[in-house]
Symmetry: C2
Subunit: 670 residues, 2 copies
């Protein structure tokens, strides 16, 4: 303001308006609820940032992503590009497993605006003397601001301008890319505006790409009357690893209560030798931080963790916040439970399921705040100290969201490699919210998506905001709780169908033991296994004929060899003219790895279809030539044109997995 104009008092709102960002930065992604929750990302994977950025007037803008870990003080920068209609896009690739944050900075690109207008006028033959003088002044002011090499370049350019004899020469100097670069370096970033700062949680690769194998350690025995032990698990490690699994997940390994112990098939009265459900945690032998004596000792467990690691397997434990009536906490911390007028505690329910053998803690009981919260956190930390970094959490949707948000952040601050898989089967909003509060992976509705429309819609939804940014789907083909209806009478082909859908659909998939043997005996009319392993020891012959061990191993091998399959992102449904054939693609953003998957959803009959190769995505014409490779058997061929034909015979293999490529691919897309 000049001295001549006295403005002793400016209204605070006007003062604020004068300082407000001139540039609007809107609809930035990935952002969850305005930044209330961190978007999910994975180390080494580019994070795609998009935003609507615009300002009044017609000047050109420039914009960058500023990003850093939460512990860093300086921002790293990555340029955003205008992709049209005020939409901008850019990427940054985090290199640390840590909490990150980013924001967008945008400013008026004065010199680019000038260059554009000068070039347009010059091309149109309009006199540009005045524009050249304006440009010279821009350079002069920039050279005054600049330092070092940039200053030298700008001074040299100014020199060349004044030495030039013709306007054409001066125009050339002004439009030179060297001038543009120097002016960008010295850019005062007029009207520089910043977005809010948004959190991004960067996790380790296993958060996005992992194959889980679930087993009951006690069933690792050859005699149903002999309780399996940690020692017994050792000899399974090579075969599980050979099938291509990364994570070996155990149902709870803690002492099992006696009171109200369940008998076989969920009966209410156990015989004296019935082992009970491992989810009824706690006995006189201890609670959540103890090991069930029949499985071995804590030392045995640590030895198993180490052995698994040598085989390339990480052990995941089950975190089930519930207590048998014999859990030490009931007597030591009665104030952590809600007692009824008759001196009992209500048993747990997850309607319509009833768990007469367990009771729940009350997170908001007076005595439980904060003791119980801390105790539960300490249970996790105890197992982290034994070498466990992955926890599958039982029914997290029945425990308070603020507890998870705090506990997961607290643990991951100490060790960012620790991960939690949410076993919530409930309504969509809660499923997503658990991802938002910090669960790294989530169980899904995949198990109940069987037809083409359902599968296509669900996979699409998982690829879109907000789920894309808060929810990593772990496609379990079965669990001890879910013996899917589809498998009851599908035979071996049905198991192959579901394995192909899970392994190709998501970077994360899981299998509960017995699946590879095509076990499907159910309690009639229910998705419960008959003689469920939850209530009894089950002995299995893992070499039984008809098993699908080789196919699972091959599916996992294909996943390891193809980056497009190491995430649920990059999915797209394509056209096959048969509703029984689900035909889709997975591709890396750079198109270097492009996999086509055709799964017949009919385990009984052959299915045929004409289908479309997505040549348009590869920048190829409809008559383009592509190479195909069958990743299950190595067969190779050439496809000519867009429309092709397939026939799938479920008695051979109910699916095809093909890598498509082309030498003629549009180089801009490569």
């Amino acid at each position: 303001m000049t001295d001549a104009k006295p403005h002793p008092v400016i209204h605070p709102r006007l003062e604020q308006a004068l300082r407000m960002p001139r540039i609007a930065i809107e609809s930035t992604q990935p952002v969850l609820e305005g930044g209330r929750f961190a978007a999910k990302a994975t180390i080494g994977h580019p994070i795609n940032v998009t935003s609507k950025i615009f300002s009044d007037g017609h000047d050109q803008l420039a914009a960058t992503i500023c990003w850093r870990t939460k512990d860093e003080t300086t921002w790293r920068r990555a340029r955003l590009k205008l992709i049209g209609n005020d939409s901008w896009e850019g990427q940054f690739t985090p290199t640390q497993v840590a909490s990150h944050e980013f924001m967008i900075e945008a400013w008026w690109d004065v010199y680019e605006t000038y260059r554009y207008e000068l070039s347009k006028k010059h091309t149109a033959g309009v006199p540009v003397q005045l524009e050249l003088e304006e440009g010279r002044l821009l350079l002069e002011r920039a050279s005054q601001r600049a330092q070092g090499e940039t200053k030298a370049i700008l001074e040299d350019l100014l020199h060349r301008l004044s030495a030039a004899h013709l306007d054409d020469e001066r125009v050339s100097v002004m439009l030179a890319s060297e001038t543009a670069a120097a002016m960008a370096d010295a850019d005062p970033r007029e009207h520089c505006s910043q977005s809010d700062v948004y959190p991004v949680e960067v996790e380790r690769p296993l958060a996005l790409f992992a194959s889980w194998y679930e087993l009951f350690p006690r069933s690792e025995t050859d005699d149903p009357n002999r309780h399996g032990t940690f020692h017994d698990v050792h000899k399974r490690l090579p075969s599980i690893r050979d099938m291509g699994f990364d994570v070996l997940y155990f149902t709870p390994i803690h002492p099992i209560g006696r009171q109200h112990r369940k008998g076989p098939n969920n009966t209410l009265h156990a015989g004296p030798d019935d082992p009970g459900s491992p989810y009824a945690i706690g006995s006189e032998a201890g609670g959540h931080d103890a090991v069930h004596p029949e499985l071995g000792t804590l030392d045995d467990f640590r030895a198993l963790v180490a052995a698994a690691q040598e085989h390339g397997l990480e052990i995941a434990l089950d975190f089930a916040i519930q207590c048998s009536q014999d859990h030490p906490w009931l007597s030591e911390h009665p104030g952590w439970f809600s007692w009824r007028p008759d001196g009992t505690i209500r048993y747990a329910e997850n309607p319509p399921k009833k768990y007469q053998d367990i009771v729940n803690v009350d997170f908001y009981a007076e005595d439980a705040m904060p003791d119980l919260w801390i105790a539960l956190r300490d249970v996790i930390w105890h197992w982290v100290e034994q070498g466990v970094k992955i926890f599958r959490v039982d029914n997290p949707h029945t425990k308070p969201l603020p507890f998870w948000e705090w506990m997961i952040a607290d643990i991951r601050e100490r060790d960012p490699d620790v991960m939690f898989l949410s076993e919530a089967f409930t309504k969509p909003a809660m499923m997503a919210r658990l991802g938002k509060v910090g669960f790294n992976q989530s169980y899904t509705y995949f198990t109940w998506r069987n037809n083409k429309a359902e599968l296509s819609e669900y996979l699409t939804e998982l690829n879109e905001h907000p789920l894309r940014d808060c929810y990593r789907p772990n496609f379990f083909v079965n669990t001890p709780d879910i013996n899917p209806f589809f498998l009851h009478d599908s035979g071996r082909a049905g198991f192959l169908i579901r394995a192909a859908l899970a392994t190709m659909g998501s970077g994360l998939w899981g299998m509960y033991s017995g699946f590879e043997l095509c076990e499907s005996a159910a309690i009639p009319g229910k998705e419960e296994y008959l003689d469920s392993e939850k209530y009894q020891i089950r002995v299995r012959d893992y070499h039984a004929p008809g098993n699908i061990v080789a196919e699972i191993a091959q599916l996992n091998r294909i996943r390891r060899q193809n980056p497009a399959l190491q995430t649920h992102l990059g999915f797209k449904a394509y056209t096959a003219y048969n509703d029984n054939i689900f035909f889709f693609g997975k591709r890396t953003p750079d198109l270097k790895n492009f996999i086509l998957i055709a799964v017949s959803l009919d385990p009984h009959n052959a299915q045929e279809a004409h289908f479309e190769l997505p040549l348009w995505e590869m920048g190829l014409p409809d008559d383009g030539e592509t190479r195909g490779e069958d990743l299950m058997n190595g067969h190779r061929w050439t496809w000519y044109g867009k429309t092709q034909f397939m026939r799938i015979e479920p008695w051979h293999l109910p699916f095809g997995i093909w890598r498509i490529s082309s030498d003629a691919m549009d180089p801009d897309l490569k």
Copy 2:
């Protein structure tokens, strides 16, 4: 916490987690960018609030909207209802034109949860003694908390419980609606959680429902060589009002510059008698707060405002922030402009349009902050003091967003009846943003939406978030700047088509004089009027044959009589099996007013179609019986069944407007 447990230090993040809301309240609407901007609402119109509300566990929840004006300290409340899948919905109806705010409060509905479980168990024949004792304790604790009548009721209920001999009697007491009501009154609202507080701007009815008529006052003359005056406008008021208009909008009325004055048809050199463009504001006679001497005096203007008001018309002025080179500001405030090295100011452009007769101010020039901002605000306030409450703002997208946000809020805080119409024709994000920063109405893309798919898509988008909440579309059928291609050779029928689409499509529509005479002479190949009134005085015979004055009056009359037509909201496209017939409906949320509109988009040929009456929305079966009334001519009939037939002859009337009703309508929907 009990004394026995020393917790001298709880980590602040845990402390915070313990206090965090247990209930998630997500995706609340109407909310713009997390509450950064106020959603738009209109006095007397219910505001529909929706939200996802959920918590851990299986307890039932209850929720209310809390709302108030920004000046009030206590909240008013309106209950939300669960509509399924964690979605809740409720309404509140503001009764003041003022800035409002609302939030959502949700809590565990302990007694409803209890009632539900008791009822289920009792119905199933399960013993409920323990549940009854739990219920008694709930009542006892509630009666201790309660006061007055509620306390008395609860004490009486407790008395009845203890006097009862049978469990069945006690169950009846527990399940009685009287008990539920008393328990709701005494509800301690366990785990009560609050959303953020979100702003809502409540505006006067004319913000949502108004018909605008635009004219150049100087053309109100019977001789092109005699400049029309404010006095001349008086005699037009009755006929404009008779056509059903509410707002009479004048192009700028300020002194017009001499330098670079434009001649007829935008030529660069005006003759001595050419009046120039009224958008070249400012001469030695004054600037934005002055009146063009040839129109009359400020007193004349005030008299016209008063006369218009007597005729039920509000005057709207044009606010065009630009200056002719003769504007007093150039000499008085040179620091408000950006000067080029040769001592000139760059003339204005809105590519591809060039405005050689005007220059723009520089909002961020050192001297302009804040003097220019205040001066512009004071221009508006000056005209408010002359009785003007409505401003049409010229090209707001070329002026800074922070200026608008501050200026509009500042003016509306002094007088909340003042409204601003944004004349921005630019990209979608900026169009919407201008609504967010405070513009009450906006020009739209309507003028360029001609075919069925375009119209349907655009009207749908305007009905959806975020536009629904930030953007009130004013459908202008033409403007001095836009002589739409469609009208160039459509004949009279084309004008009726566009008038029907505008009047039925939005509560807000506008017409620039000459439209009612079907004027369409254009500069060849351009959407510019030939002999544009922007550069010359145009004399018209408003009784010329072939005019559509009667039809416009009838369309406006239908709008006044049918609430469904007084907003752009409530639109839905329906099926007519002919792409030349755009068939849609407008209905009030309570379904009491339901209008069907069929517009042939073909001004030349008759068009026929089978079409579907939306019986399903009225809760009627496909063979339901409905009454129809043609609102253009009063004809009435009965429709039998869903599929009907229409024929539209553009030489009679290119559209039909029918009110549909039924006695048999599902009473729940009424």
